[in-house]
């Protein structure tokens, strides 16, 4: 009998000597793992530039070992991604790895401008329904009646509005080639989300338009639940509000 390795960290995963700085049970590590897996399977590790803003999603960028990773000001990730893509004549594969606050709160204008211009970049948004880094405040993606540190009695739509559905919002934009939403709460959803990420990166390789993938991820520290209860909460509360699936898959843009 011989022992062979079937699964370890992905090839493009950056192994540091210390533990990651994410909280126990935080699924940003899984989001970065999915990106690494998709990049490895497409064979574009040496040609991929990952750009990340401020926030918990910024930690993801430290986990990837690709051509380069670049940190940028909060909410300006799509702008910096556009600049890099254009300055290098469209050669690199540019991935904007964002959190929900970075993508749709502070960076909403950047995302919409990039979608209007039809930039050939891939935007990944990890949605944990609050601002994780600063202590769990209300974010645009917070669910109705969800308790956060700034809505202690639950999100009231009359006061704080309704949750933002980003992939559905991007569907009418003509510059958007791909919009999908996945989750990583079960192994089945994990594999499905990996397919979405590969399809999104393929759209950029084929030079079609902006591709967007939202990934629902758990935040046990700010939801005040154990990690396994968080997965149940995603299944029961988040997925009914944010349905999974592909919303747009265009082969060409007229």
């Amino acid at each position: 009998m011989e022992k062979i390795k079937v699964r370890g960290a992905p090839k493009s995963w950056q192994r540091s000597t210390s533990p990651l700085t994410i909280c126990p049970g935080c699924q940003h590590g899984v989001v970065a793992e999915l990106l690494c897996d998709a990049v490895d399977e497409l064979g574009i590790q040496g040609n991929t530039i990952v750009i990340s803003g401020i926030g918990c999603a910024g930690i993801d960028a430290f986990m990837v070992d690709m051509d380069a990773f670049i940190m940028c000001p909060h909410g300006r990730t799509c702008d910096v991604a556009t600049g890099i893509k254009r300055a290098l004549f469209g050669k690199p594969i540019v991935v904007a790895l964002q959190g929900d606050g970075d993508c749709i709160a502070i960076g909403a204008g950047s995302l919409i401008s990039a979608a209007l211009r039809g930039e050939k970049i891939t935007v990944i948004m990890a949605n944990n329904a609050n601002y994780g880094t600063t202590g769990g405040q209300l974010a645009p993606t917070t669910l109705l009646d969800q308790v956060t540190s700034t809505t202690p009695e639950g999100r009231d739509p009359g006061l704080a509005g309704y949750p933002a559905h980003v992939p559905e919002m991007l569907v009418p934009f003509r510059g958007v080639a791909y919009a999908a939403r996945g989750a990583v709460n079960t192994p089945a959803n994990y594999q499905r989300t990996k397919r979405y990420l590969k399809a999104a990166l393929q759209k950029q390789i084929d030079n079609i338009g902006l591709s967007f993938v939202e990934i629902l991820s758990a935040c046990p520290a700010n939801w005040h639940r154990t990690p396994v209860e968080c997965l149940k909460w995603i299944e029961e509360k988040m997925i009914p509000e944010y349905p999974l699936g592909e919303f747009k898959n265009a082969d060409r843009i007229d």
Binding site: E2, K5, V6, P19, G25, H28, D37, E41, V184
Partner: protein, 85 residues
């Protein structure tokens, strides 16, 4: 039946318990008296006979602390990587 084995790296494990939750065969437990170097509860691989190297624990581990190995007969070709696709 395929037999497998996993190794959990104590340096990276933060004790979230996803591996215990997702192991369909009950091969991983958190005994409660073992700790990582950071002070988190350490999961332990206990059931060598039942593990079939499905690698779901390694997929779902956010910190990439788990490596999965599979036992094959000597001389066989390397099997297809089950992590892809």
């Amino acid at each position: 039946m395929t037999r497998g084995e996993i190794s959990i790296d104590e340096r990276y494990c933060l004790g979230c318990g996803y591996c215990v939750h997702f192991c369909a065969r009950g091969c991983i437990v958190i005994p409660g008296d073992r700790f990582t170097t950071m002070g988190y509860l350490l999961p332990v691989f206990i059931n060598l006979e039942r593990c079939n190297a499905c690698a779901v624990c390694a997929w779902m581990c956010p910190h990439q602390a788990i490596e999965v190995y599979k036992y094959v007969e000597s001389g066989q070709n390397e099997p297809e990587d089950i992590s892809s696709g």
